[in-house]
């Protein structure tokens, strides 16, 4: 917890600093008389014979680093990046054990959830079948009412009746599917 709270200041810039800095820039741009001519003069004084930036005059043949590598290095070396986990042998084994147990626990939870959903679906299907086949005319009426899809997509676009995918399925729609 202590470690996390020490990171918090890194991830969330403190409001006092940002507000003060932003207000100071606003004030300076508002109240200070801007002097573009003077800034140009100073730049010319630094590089008197050329107006192009100095970086462009550097030697063309020097080895250029790939921009992606620069970006990766920037983010890896950034102070906001948490340090990599460096553990001793036994410590990393303990870490691995805990990680595996966590994965196993998550998987067990997922399986339990899927099993319960499947059970619910099956029992609802069985109840509908019971209504349709063995419950007389009153049951048949209830079955028809239960199968009616009228109004269930009220207020929700009907496109959401099916899981949205990026493209059509590879093998098309199976018209001949039966249970």
């Amino acid at each position: 917890m202590n470690v996390l709270s020490s990171f918090r200041s890194l991830f969330r810039p403190s409001p006092s600093i940002t507000s003060s800095s932003s207000s100071s820039t606003i004030f300076s741009s508002l109240w200070k008389p801007s002097s573009p001519s003077s800034s140009i003069l100073t730049r010319h004084a630094a590089a008197p014979f050329s107006s192009t930036p100095r970086a462009m005059a550097r030697d063309k043949g020097r080895p250029r680093t790939d921009k992606r590598i620069t970006l990766i290095r920037y983010h890896l070396m950034h102070p906001m990046t948490p340090r990599p986990l460096r553990f001793s042998r036994l410590r990393s084994l303990r870490h691995w054990t805990i990680h595996r147990a966590w994965l196993l626990y998550r998987r067990q939870q997922l399986q339990a959830k899927e099993r319960s959903l499947e059970r619910q679906y099956n029992s609802m299907r069985d109840a509908c079948e019971e209504l349709r086949a063995h419950s007389g005319p009153e049951g048949a009426r209830l079955f028809r009412a239960s199968q009616s899809k009228k109004g269930i997509w009220q207020g929700v676009p009907v496109e959401y009746a099916r899981l949205q995918t990026d493209g059509p399925p590879r093998d098309g729609f199976n018209e001949g599917w039966t249970r």
Binding site: R89, L93, R94, T97, R100, A101, L104
Partner: protein, 417 residues
């Protein structure tokens, strides 16, 4: 010293003495610490004990008193870790890994243990189901073919369960990483196979396909066994150029298979790059051939020089390349013999020159399971190696035939201006 510390000192010293006296190898998950969280202050018992073995040189892993530290530093050895860690090591040295008193770790172990128990139960029930199916009449289980298919799939599931029961054990992982895994157990074979398929298998597949060993010598190869090659102490990487003096002595193979059981294999070393001047092309030559070599996941070493007389068909011929010929690919093939059968080794028909591994494998219905490859070329030792092996041709230098340029009429100079 604060009042709290002073109050807790005799208690802590009592604990420590009790731990040392009654159960020195106690494996309880309790570490004896005084109630202080600051750097260790020593009670009388500890000071006395350190004074008693002052004559011995302090251990840098457990030296805690300033005098011991000073002694170590004077000797040029820095104490290991922090003083607190060293003190903890002193009092809790003999706790086995699985009993380390970390709460989250212990909770995780409980979860994994429960899963393992469940997997063991599943293994039991699957074994019972397999036994039941085996004793069943094939007419009931839907015919011989269907029964065999179901048995196979149930066996596969059983193997999978065996691996799943052990895959989460940290000690098994540790033992495998230390190279102490018992290859008779499926989990270690599974881990070794996975590790081999990470790097070594892609490497050998790349080499044998890049250097066209596979379509040149055998039409197809899907390696399932790890093959390592060494000459005396030189481990050879796949495709490496080997000095002819190094490869003069027979190689030593290490063939690691990842499925259980013993089987017989045939080992063939074939050179497909022997120049044939009459045909203006290249021939095969067999440098070594041996059959009926028993290997299993635990017996992996095949020293080619120390195989029995009746299993060796063609003894080792030192690889050589004549001067001027392009490099020779010496490919080592390990082929599995079908159903543990032995093949006839007293074959008169096997000749070194023009040996064709395809037809040999077809005739004996061998299945290639692994390969290795090294290269040889003319070097300063080749002539002596050939002389010692009684081979001729060391005094011949092969030259490429000069390709006469086509008749070419020089165009007028105006075009080249």
């Amino acid at each position: 010293m604060s009042g709290c510390k002073r109050a807790s000192k005799p208690l802590a010293s009592l604990w420590r003495q009790g731990a040392k006296g009654s159960c020195p190898n106690s494996t309880l998950g309790v570490s004896f610490r005084s109630f202080t969280a600051g750097p260790a202050r020593f009670d009388e018992a500890n000071v006395q004990s350190s004074k008693a073995d002052n004559s011995a040189f302090p251990d840098p892993a457990t030296a805690v008193t300033p005098s011991e530290e000073e002694k170590l530093i004077k000797a040029g050895i820095l104490p290991v870790g922090s003083r607190r860690r060293r003190l903890a090591l002193q009092t809790t040295a003999n706790i086995p890994f699985e009993q380390l008193p970390y709460q989250c770790f212990q909770e995780a172990r409980k979860v994994l243990q429960a899963d393992r128990e469940e997997k063991l139960k599943q293994i039991e029930s699957e074994r019972a189901r397999i036994a039941k199916l085996q004793s069943q009449d094939p007419a009931v289980s839907g015919g011989e073919v269907e029964k065999a298919r179901r048995l196979r799939s149930m066996q596969n599931y059983l193997e999978k369960l065996k691996i799943l029961a052990d895959i989460n054990d940290p000690l098994i992982k540790k033992r495998f990483e230390d190279g102490q895994g018992d290859m008779n157990r499926p989990i270690y074979r599974y881990l070794a196979d996975k590790k081999w398929r990470e790097y070594q298998r892609p490497l050998i597949v790349q080499r044998i396909t890049q250097m066209n060993v596979v379509p040149d010598i055998l039409p197809h190869l899907d390696p399932v066994a790890d093959v390592r090659l060494a000459f005396r102490r030189h481990n050879i990487q796949p495709g490496q150029f080997v000095d002819s003096r190094v490869s003069e002595s027979p190689a030593r193979l290490k063939v690691q298979v990842f499925d259980k059981g013993e089987r017989f294999v045939t080992v063939a070393v074939v050179d497909p790059d022997v120049p044939n001047l009459e045909k203006d092309s290249f021939d095969y030559r067999c440098h070594f051939l041996a059959a009926n070599i028993p290997i299993s996941p635990t017996s992996t070493s095949i020293p080619l020089s120390r195989l029995s007389q009746d299993s060796t068909i063609l003894p080792w011929l030192p690889p050589f390349a004549q001067k001027g010929s392009p490099y020779h690919r010496l490919s080592v093939f390990v082929l599995e013999q079908p159903n543990g059968q032995k093949i006839e080794t007293a074959q008169k028909a096997v000749e070194r020159d023009g040996f064709n591994l395809r037809s040999f494998a077809d005739k004996n219905s061998l299945k290639p399971i692994g390969a290795h490859l090294f290269r040889t070329q003319w070097d300063e030792g080749t002539a002596a190696v050939m002389a010692r092996a009684g081979l001729e041709g060391a005094d011949i230098e092969l030259r490429r035939k000069r390709v006469e340029p086509l008749p070419y009429k020089k165009k007028d100079g105006a075009r080249y201006r």
